[in-house]
């Protein structure tokens, strides 16, 4: 990738953060929504709140990362601003990457706030290297999933509706609230087809450390990487085709 493209990607991310992400709707969707869900489950079945933290942090990661992707991609395609970006020395693939990394950066910021806040408030010890590793690959897969869905449809409402489908299904099937082992057998197979499953598992490793027996942490990371590539490659091609 050329120096011109890298510079464009950097400034597009900064511009998107300023104009779309760091706004009350994205922040509330990214933080307040997962917090409210977690509290609702906690009040329904009071238990140790700390056990819900990995799921809450994972929810923050997916909801904040994908909070504004429909606007960032579909709105800009619709009003022609994305075409304006393409006039600069950057390829459609570079723009896809910039849009995806904008969500990544916002998700990183929001998830760190929630993770550090939870850790300080509840006295939870966090294995920082494992947490960051899982976080980075999770955000990449969520951002690429969001960008892939957005470029596959035309309208903002279509993108938002389609984005909600995997987001909400994953909340119930990825071990965020209910452990996967407690799900019916056939649903467990579906759980392992969802990236959030590996994020929650990875965060449990980072938070519970040796006491947690889940999927191998390196397998979590590998699967998240595979998910990322599976969304990035066709998503990028679809965006390129829109400008041909």
């Amino acid at each position: 990738m050329s120096r011109d493209s890298l510079r464009c990607i950097f400034y597009i991310i900064l511009k998107d953060m300023r104009t779309y992400y760091l706004k009350p709707p994205s922040i509330s969707w990214g933080i307040i929504f997962p917090l409210a869900w977690t509290l609702a489950f906690y009040l329904r079945h009071p238990q140790t709140f700390a056990q819900l933290v990995p799921g809450m942090v994972a929810m923050t990661a997916i909801f904040s990362t994908t909070a504004a992707e429909a606007v960032v991609i579909n709105f800009e395609l619709r009003v022609g601003s994305m075409e304006r970006l393409l006039l600069a020395p950057i390829s459609p693939g570079g723009i896809f990457l910039a849009k995806l990394l904008g969500g990544f950066a916002f998700g990183f910021l929001m998830t760190l706030v929630v993770a550090i806040g939870s850790s300080l408030a509840l006295g939870i010890h966090l294995n920082v290297p494992i947490f960051l590793l899982v976080l980075i690959f999770s955000l990449l897969s969520f951002a690429s999933l969001g960008a892939f869905i957005c470029v596959s449809v035309k309208e903002i409402f279509e993108a938002q509706t389609l984005l909600n489908l995997p987001r909400f299904i994953m909340i119930f099937l990825s071990g965020v609230i209910t452990p996967i082992s407690a799900l019916p057998h056939y649903l467990q197979y579906i759980s392992y087809l969802m990236p959030l499953t590996y994020t929650v598992d990875g965060f449990r490793h980072a938070i519970s450390q040796a006491t947690y027996q889940g999927i191998n942490i390196w397998l979590d990371i590998l699967v998240l990487l595979v998910f990322s590539l599976a969304f990035i490659l066709p998503g990028r091609r679809m965006l390129e085709r829109k400008f041909e």
Binding site: D4, S5, Y11, S81, R84, P89
Partner: protein, 330 residues
């Protein structure tokens, strides 16, 4: 820096298909350094598709073009870094101010950090937008948005600028101001590739004009050359009070060998040297066909006449298709 009279843009067999539809058909032309090159044609003629290919936004299906010596197929990013483009729609960022939009463009084009604000301020001054520097883009008037879009194409001081319908939809004063800026840019040595559907604007501004219809190049010449190619004599425009298409077609047939163009249901243009004979025959034929003469005046052939002659289209196609009005006054 390219030497004067150097070719800065050369299209070689440029062709574009959308599925089975041939949008641009084997275009061959070149643009010289420092000229305003007009690219004229009605809606759907292939102007914007051509610009999209020349600015490396969309790859050609066949053929290629060399922009500032670089092949659009092989060096799209290098070309984008060196040219300026103001697209047909004003598509800057609603949530950014006029100044911030220009600074963002400076960032994309790699303008050194220290110079960004200075350059943005300079452009705001040139485009009479200094008072609006902190106004959000969405709150600017249509004319100001257009001006800012053109300004954004100049942040990195490109030597070749593509302006796609820059004055489309602007009020008279904004359009005039933008035309003055285009002339200033040319005087500064910037080459301008201009598409417009305003024939008078092209006549006033362009050093050379390419006429395009249905994706095909019809003719390239200077405005004077195009006008001269229509007729070496005079034109008469005649308006009939109760004209109709059928009678005018009959009149056209019976005016032979004089060339007649029907402008609409009540106006025709007749080209020829012998004004006296034309007037005599028109008077006689109008009586025979039951039409009453309303106005008759003569003038030298205009670019509009050249357009009609060379493309076979009415100039009304150009003005009405876009927005139903023509706003060229100087």
């Amino acid at each position: 820096m390219l030497p004067k009279n150097e070719i800065v843009l050369e299209a070689r067999g440029l062709t574009k298909y959308y599925g089975d539809f041939l949008a641009v058909d084997n275009l061959n032309f070149s643009v010289r350094k420092g000229e305003i090159f007009g690219f004229l044609g009605p809606n759907g003629a292939g102007k914007t598709t051509t610009i999209r290919m020349l600015t490396a936004l969309s790859p050609p299906s066949d053929g290629t073009a060399y922009v500032l010596g670089l092949d659009i197929r092989e060096n799209p990013l290098e070309i984008k870094a060196r040219i300026g483009v103001a697209p047909e729609i004003s598509n800057l960022y609603d949530e950014l101010s006029a100044l911030d939009n220009l600074i963002f463009m400076c960032q994309l084009y790699g303008v050194p950090r220290k110079e960004r604000v200075k350059r943005a301020e300079e452009l705001l001054e040139i485009f009479n937008l200094k008072d609006k520097r902190n106004t959000l883009f969405r709150k600017l008037s249509k004319g100001m948005k257009r001006a800012l879009t053109v300004a954004s194409a100049l942040v990195h001081r490109p030597s070749l600028v593509f302006l796609d319908e820059p004055t489309s939809g602007l009020d008279v004063l904004s359009a005039r101001s933008l035309r003055m800026i285009m002339r200033r840019l040319r005087d500064m040595g910037v080459t301008i590739f201009l598409t417009t559907h305003y024939l008078e604007e092209a006549d006033m501004l362009c050093d050379r004009i390419a006429l395009i219809r249905s994706g095909k190049l019809v003719k390239i010449d200077t405005p004077e050359g195009l006008k001269a190619s229509v007729s070496e004599g005079k034109s008469l425009e005649i308006r009939f009070r109760n004209g109709n298409e059928e009678s005018l077609q009959e009149l056209k047939k019976r005016m032979s060998p004089f060339k007649v163009t029907i402008l609409n249901g009540e106006r025709v243009r007749v080209y020829g040297d012998d004004i006296g004979e034309i007037c005599e025959r028109i008077t006689k034929l109008s009586k025979e066909l039951g039409m009453e003469l309303a106005d008759i005046f003569s003038f030298n052939p205009t670019l509009e006449d050249a357009f009609i002659e060379l493309t076979g289209l009415s100039p009304i196609v150009m003005s009405i298709e876009k927005e139903g009005k023509v706003n060229v006054t100087g």
